[in-house]
Amino acid sequence: MFAFESVFQCIFAPSSPRIWGTTENADNALSTNTSVVVPSDPAPPYMEVYYPVYYPSPSIARTGNQLTEDEQVKIALRIGLIQNLPEGKYGDCEINTECVICMIDFVVGDHVRYLPCLHTYHVRCIDDWLMRRFTCPSCMEPVDTGTFDWI
């Protein structure tokens, strides 16, 4: 499944402080929540308790009030796409026997989501991942939703 034999030439990117900075900020946002400029809207009360974190791109983590408008649109669309993926109750005769995200065997009746590649996961497991990256964890295929490939 994964090409272990393919190794890569290492050259890190000293000339891209922009990317380094972004990662740094994202990290601070998670741990201290102080160093990122917070846009005008005050945080809704629940934020003070939960700090839900969004991933406009895989390496960028922000709380809801730190998102730009573009990122808000992108994430709202992504939530819509995820909710449109088929879900159902795990049945008797399915191909996948284990959810590879939590590594727990499916039990008949589990609430599962089916990706277009036919890999199956618990809804709560795969949705957390799809909010970060729109790919199938098992085959690494982009989740093809037909219309919104650019998300």
Binding site: F2, F4, E5, S6, V7, F8, Q9, C10, I11, F12, A13, P14, S16, I19, W20, T23, E24, D27, D41, P44, Y46, Y50, Y51, P52, V53, Y54, P58, G64, L67, E69, Q72, V73, I75, A76, I79, I82, V100, I101, C102, M103, I104, R124, C125, D127, D128, W129, M131, R132, T135, P137, S138, M140
Partner: protein
């Protein structure tokens, strides 16, 4: 336009759901102790909260690292397996390899860009074993001294460029 983000089933949960991921780590540890990849030895006692593992590795026979002993450290964030583990070589013997910096940082795309929650400690170990075994010449990465002087302590903070292998 300002969209309002409500707390829904897509967020907040990861932090509150630690138990499920501790179970996964426990399970990974047991299977790694039972069926370790060749040359890998894992102690089943990895401390209380399972967030820091030490794994011993011996260079495979017939490779440039035959008989050498290495130690790998795995650090797991509370968001594992959505976040990749932070994996470094530690201890007195860091393998001399074109993808391993002298401070123990490893340049391997599955540890950053190509991480997926379907990967595991087992697959990462296999991948590192294979990376060492396929090495043709023991040498440090070309930018080793600059990198080691300037990098962040956490290798995941490095923006790596993964080029096709030309070693």
């Amino acid at each position: 336009m300002a969209l309002k983000f409500n707390r829904n089933k897509h967020n907040s949960k990861i932090i509150l759901d630690g138990e499920r991921w501790e179970r996964r780590l426990q399970k990974e540890l047991m299977s790694l102790v039972r069926e370790p990849p060749p040359g890998v030895v894992v102690d089943s006692d990895q401390g209380e909260n399972l967030s820091l593992w030490t794994i011993n590795m011996t260079g495979a026979e017939g490779t440039l690292y035959e008989g050498e002993h290495f130690t790998l450290q795995f650090k797991f964030s509370p968001k594992y397996p959505f976040d990749s583990p932070e994996v470094t070589f530690i201890g007195p013997n860091i393998p001399v390899h074109p993808h391993v910096y002298s401070n123990g940082h490893i340049c391997l795309s599955i540890l950053t860009d190509d991480w997926s929650p379907a990967l595991s400690v087992q697959t990462v170990c296999l991948s590192i074993v294979s990376m060492l075994s396929s090495c043709k010449e023991k040498k440090r990465p070309p930018d080793n001294s600059f990198y080691v002087k300037t990098c962040n302590k956490n290798p995941k903070k490095t923006k790596w460029w993964y080029h096709d292998d030309t070693v």
